[in-house]
C-alpha cells in the first residue's frame, strides 16, 4: 500500500487501562439522568422504551462490573499499528495449530470487538469447543476507524473502500499471505468491498448480512414466497426502524453531542437497531431472560466501551462516508466479487436473504446456509453456532 511508505509499520502491544475517574464520572452521569416522559405506545414503535432503558441504567450504575472490559480485552493479545496515518487497534490470537487459516473478522455498528470475543475460543481452538483441529483459524479482530480503541479519523475519506484496503495492509503486515475475511453489519460491507478489491492473498469471504440489497438502486426480485417475505422485512426496516441510519448518514455531528454527553442517551441509541435484537436485549434487562449470549453484562460491555472511548459521533460517521462514497462513485457499478463467497442467514436477521438473492450478488457462492438460531448480532448471540458456520464456510478453501 503506497501510503504506508515512509511510515513506521510498527506493531505495538496494547493494554486497556481505564482511569477510575472515568468510571466515577460515568456513574455520576447515569445517576443524574434526566428522563423524558414515557412513550405513548406499548411497543418499540416510538423508540427505546422508558422501562427498558431505566432498567438498563439502574443495572449499569448499581450492578455492572466496570472492570469487565479491561479484564476481557486484556486477556487477549491486543495491538496498535498505524495504517494510513491512523492508529488501528486489533486483537490478534494465533491458533496453536500450525496450519490454521488466517481470518480477519470485522464488527459493525452498534457493535465493536466486544461482540466477537466469544468466538475467539471456538475459532482459534476448535478442539476445545467440539470442533476439529483442521478448522482452526489465526484470528484478527480489528476495531473500525472511529470505534473502540482505534483512532478517530480527523478528515473525510475513511469510507469502506479505505477500511478494506487498510485491512489488507494489516494482514500483509502481520505476515499473512493467504487469508479470509468475515463480517456482519458494517463488517459485511468491509468484507464485501475486500472481495471486490480482491487484494493479493485474500482467498474468500463470508458474510452474515446481504449488504448488496439494502439500499440497492434496483430492488431484488420478489418472485418466490421467500423473496417476498424478505422484501417485506426490508420494507418494514427501512420505513420504521431506520431512524439511526437516516440521522447518522446525514447529521452524525448533531446527534453526536447528545451521545457524548449523556451515557443513557448513548445506551438508548445503541439499543435502537433492529426489532429482533431490541426485544431480545430488552428482555434481558426487563425480564432477566437473555437470548443466548446477549446478556446484560455483554450488552453493557459494548455500550461502556463506546462511552469510555467517546466514540458515539465518530462511529456514526462511516454512515455519512457511505453517502459521500456513493456520490463520488456517481452511479458506477463496483467490480464484481469473483472470489469464493460464503453466506449464512440467521433467523432473527433484519431479513432472511434467499439463496437466489445471494447468488445474484455473488455468482461464486461456495457456501450458503440458514442458521437455526441467532439474529443480527449472530456472533455475539450464538458464538458457537456462528463459529460452526465460519468453519463450514471456509472449509473448502483450506
Amino acid at each position: 500500500m503506497s501510503s504506508t511508505v515512509g511510515t513506521a509499520p510498527e506493531i505495538k502491544p496494547f493494554h486497556v487501562e481505564i482511569p477510575e475517574e472515568q468510571i466515577d464520572d460515568l456513574r455520576r452521569r447515569i445517576g443524574t439522568m434526566r428522563w423524558p416522559t414515557k412513550e405513548l405506545v406499548d411497543d418499540r414503535s416510538q423508540g427505546v422504551q422508558l422501562a427498558t432503558i431505566q432498567e438498563l441504567a439502574r443495572y449499569w450504575a448499581n450492578d455492572y462490573d466496570f472492570a469487565r472490559i479491561e479484564a476481557r480485552l486484556n486477556a487477549l493479545p491486543q495491538f496498535i499499528t498505524e495504517i494510513d496515518g491512523l492508529d488501528i487497534h486489533f486483537i490478534h490470537v494465533r491458533s496453536k495449530h500450525e496450519d490454521a487459516l488466517p481470518l480477519i473478522m470485522t464488527h459493525g455498528w452498534p457493535g465493536s470487538v466486544m461482540e466477537l470475543l466469544e468466538t475467539v475460543g471456538p475459532l482459534t481452538d476448535p478442539t476445545a469447543h467440539g470442533g476439529d483441529a483442521e478448522d482452526a483459524f489465526d484470528l484478527v479482530l480489528p476495531s473500525l476507524p472511529g470505534y473502540g480503541f482505534s483512532a478517530e479519523p480527523t478528515e473525510v475519506g475513511w469510507d469502506f473502500g479505505h477500511m478494506a484496503r487498510a485491512w489488507a495492509e494489516l494482514m500483509n503486515r502481520l505476515g499473512y499471505t493467504r487469508y479470509v475475511a468475515q463480517g456482519g453489519d458494517l463488517g459485511a460491507i468491509v468484507s464485501d468491498v475486500m472481495g471486490r478489491q480482491a487484494p493479493e492473498g485474500l482467498l474468500g469471504i463470508h458474510m452474515n448480512l446481504l449488504v448488496t440489497t439494502l439500499g440497492a438502486p434496483v430492488p431484488p426480485p420478489g418472485d418466490t414466497e421467500e423473496e417476498r417475505a424478505a422484501l417485506d422485512a426490508i420494507a418494514t426496516f427501512t420505513t420504521s426502524g431506520f431512524g439511526y441510519f437516516l440521522e447518522q448518514s446525514t447529521r452524525p455531528q448533531t446527534i453526536g453531542y447528545a451521545l457524548l454527553d449523556s451515557p443513557v442517551a448513548l445506551a438508548a441509541w445503541l439499543l435502537d437497531h433492529d426489532t429482533d435484537s431490541y426485544y431480545k436485549i430488552s428482555s434481558a434487562f426487563v425480564d432477566g431472560k437473555p437470548s443466548g449470549n446477549l446478556t446484560r453484562d455483554n450488552i453493557l460491555d459494548n455500550i461502556t466501551l463506546y462511552w469510555l472511548t467517546g466514540t458515539g459521533a465518530s462511529a456514526a460517521r462511516p454512515y455519512w462516508e457511505l453517502g459521500r462514497a456513493q456520490a463520488l462513485a456517481a452511479g458506477q457499478a463496483p467490480p464484481e466479487v469473483s472470489l469464493p463467497v460464503g453466506f449464512t442467514t440467521f433467523p432473527g436477521e433484519i431479513f432472511q436473504a434467499p439463496r437466489s438473492w445471494v447468488e445474484q450478488s455473488y455468482p461464486n457462492l461456495t457456501y450458503y446456509n440458514k442458521g437455526d438460531k441467532g439474529g443480527h448480532f449472530a456472533a455475539w448471540e450464538e458464538p458457537e453456532l456462528f463459529s460452526d458456520e465460519v468453519r463450514a464456510a471456509f472449509r473448502s478453501l483450506r
Binding site: M33, P36, E247, S249, Q253, T254, G312
Partner: protein, 408 residues
C-alpha cells in the same frame, strides 16, 4: 365536544423557574463531554463543534433566563384544560374593543417565544406605525407537549386534534368570529382548522402554505424529474422542494423514533444542537438562526442570540425535547401538498422559507385565496426574524374581512 362535563376553568399562569433548575442547567453545560470536531469544514455533518461550543459558553456564563421570564410574565398567560390536557396560552386583548381575534400557532423547533415580538405590534398597531383599525386580540397557545402545555400521555394529539382544540379555546374565550395563523407545524394546524371550518373561523393565514399540486408533490418526494410545463416560478419551487427533502432527516428521525432521543432530555448541549439543526432555504442549520448567534441585540426586531437561547432554554426547563418530537410521529399525512381548504386563506411567501409557493399553485390549492404576497426578506421563522414585516402582513392579509363586515 369533549369539553362538555370537563372543567372549563381558565387559570392565570405565571412562569416561575426555581433557581435550582437554572443552576442545574449551568452545571450540566459546564460538565459537557464533547465529541471531536466534525471531519469537514462546513455544516454537512451537522452543527459544527465551534458553533455549539461558542453558544454553550455564552449560555453558561452570560445568558439570563430571568429576562425572558419577565418578558413572558409581562403578558397575560393562562392554562385551561381542553380534551383532557392542560393548554397554556398567551392572551393579550387589544385596547380596541372591536379588534379582530387571532390565534397564532408556533412550530418546531419553536415555541411561543417565536411570537413574542409580534404581540404588541398586533394588539396596538397605532404604536407601531400601523392603523388602529388593524388591531387584533391575540391568542398564542403552546402546542400539546410544548412549553408550558401538558404533555400528552396517549397517542392522538396531531394537527387535526390541535385544530379542534384551538376552536374550542377561542370559543371558550368568547370569540365567535376569529382568524387563525401559523407557520411550520402551525401551518399544518391552521390548514386542519381550515378543513374543519369550525363556526366562527373567518379565515386563515399561513406563512408555510401547502400548495403543491399532486403530480409535483409525488415527483418531488420521489426525487423524480418534475412534470412538464412548469413555469419558471414553479420550476424554482420544485427545485426548492427537492433541496428541502434532502434536509429533513431530523424530521424523519423524530417521525420514526422520538423516544430514542433520550439525550435531548439529559444533555442541554445535545438539546441545543438538535434544535439548531433545522434548515431554512439558506442552510442547515438555518442561516437566519446561525446569523442570530452573532447578533447580541437588534433595534429592528431581528432575531438575536438571546432569543435563540430563550427558546432552547424553554425546551430545557420544561423538559419537552422528546414530547415535542412526538408530534412528528403522530402525523402521517403529506407535507406541502394541497389539502383542500375551501374557507378564505391568506398567504405570505417569505424568500428563505422551505419553498416559495408560486401564486399559481396557491390559487389552485386555496380556491378562496383572499390575499397573496411575496415579501423580500424573512424565512422559515418569519415572525421571529422579521416581526415588523410579519405583523404588517397579518394586518394586510385580514383587512378585507373587516371592511366586508368582519368584526364589529
Amino acid at each position: 365536544m369533549s369539553s362538555v362535563e370537563t372543567a372549563i376553568e381558565i387559570r392565570p399562569f405565571h412562569v416561575d423557574v426555581p433557581d435550582e433548575a437554572l443552576e442545574d442547567l449551568r452545571r450540566r453545560i459546564a460538565a459537557t463531554n464533547w465529541p471531536e470536531k466534525e471531519t469537514v469544514a462546513d455544516q454537512s455533518q451537522g452543527v459544527p463543534l465551534a458553533v455549539i461550543q461558542k453558544l454553550a459558553r455564552y449560555w453558561m456564563t452570560d445568558y439570563d433566563w430571568r429576562t425572558c421570564q419577565a418578558t413572558l410574565n409581562a403578558f397575560p398567560q393562562f392554562v385551561t384544560e381542553i380534551d383532557g390536557l392542560d393548554v397554556h396560552f398567551l392572551h393579550v386583548r387589544s385596547q380596541h374593543e372591536d379588534a379582530l381575534p387571532l390565534i397564532v400557532n408556533h412550530g418546531w423547533p419553536g415555541s411561543i417565544i417565536e411570537q413574542l415580538k409580534i404581540v404588541n405590534r398586533l394588539t396596538d398597531p397605532a404604536a407601531h406605525g400601523g392603523d388602529a383599525a388593524d388591531a387584533f386580540h391575540v391568542v398564542i397557545p403552546s402546542m400539546p407537549g410544548y412549553g408550558f402545555s401538558g404533555k400528552p400521555t396517549s397517542t392522538g394529539w396531531g394537527p387535526e386534534r390541535m385544530g379542534r382544540a384551538w376552536a374550542e379555546l377561542m370559543q371558550r374565550l368568547g370569540y365567535s368570529r376569529y382568524v387563525a395563523q401559523g407557520g411550520d407545524w402551525g401551518a399544518f394546524v391552521v390548514d386542519q382548522m381550515g378543513l374543519q371550518a369550525p363556526a366562527g373561523l373567518l379565515a386563515i393565514h399561513t406563512n408555510m402554505p401547502a400548495t403543491v399540486p399532486a403530480d409535483v408533490d409525488k415527483a418531488s418526494l420521489a426525487g423524480e424529474p418534475p412534470p412538464a410545463g412548469l413555469s419558471t416560478e414553479e420550476q424554482r419551487a420544485y427545485e426548492q422542494l427537492i433541496r428541502t427533502y434532502g434536509q429533513v432527516e431530523y424530521a424523519r428521525m423524530m417521525a420514526a423514533r422520538p423516544q430514542t432521543l433520550y439525550g435531548i432530555a439529559d444533555s442541554p448541549v445535545g438539546l441545543a444542537a438538535w434544535l439548531l439543526d433545522h434548515n431554512d432555504a439558506d442552510g442547515q442549520p438555518a442561516a437566519a438562526v446561525v446569523a442570530a448567534l452573532d447578533r447580541p441585540s437588534s433595534d429592528t426586531g431581528e432575531l438575536t442570540r438571546d432569543e435563540v437561547l430563550d427558546n432552547i432554554t424553554l425546551y430545557w426547563l420544561t423538559n419537552t425535547g422528546v414530547s415535542a418530537s412526538r408530534l412528528y410521529w403522530e402525523y402521517k399525512g403529506g407535507f406541502f401538498n394541497a389539502k383542500g381548504v375551501s374557507i378564505p386563506v391568506a398567504v405570505t411567501v417569505f424568500p428563505a422559507e422551505q419553498y416559495q409557493a408560486p401564486r399559481t399553485w396557491a390559487e389552485q390549492a386555496y380556491p378562496n385565496l383572499i390575499y397573496f404576497n411575496d415579501v423580500d426578506r424573512g424565512g422559515h421563522f418569519a415572525a421571529w426574524e422579521q416581526p415588523e414585516l410579519f405583523s404588517a402582513e397579518l394586518r394586510a392579509a385580514f383587512r378585507s374581512l373587516r371592511t366586508n363586515g368582519g368584526s364589529s
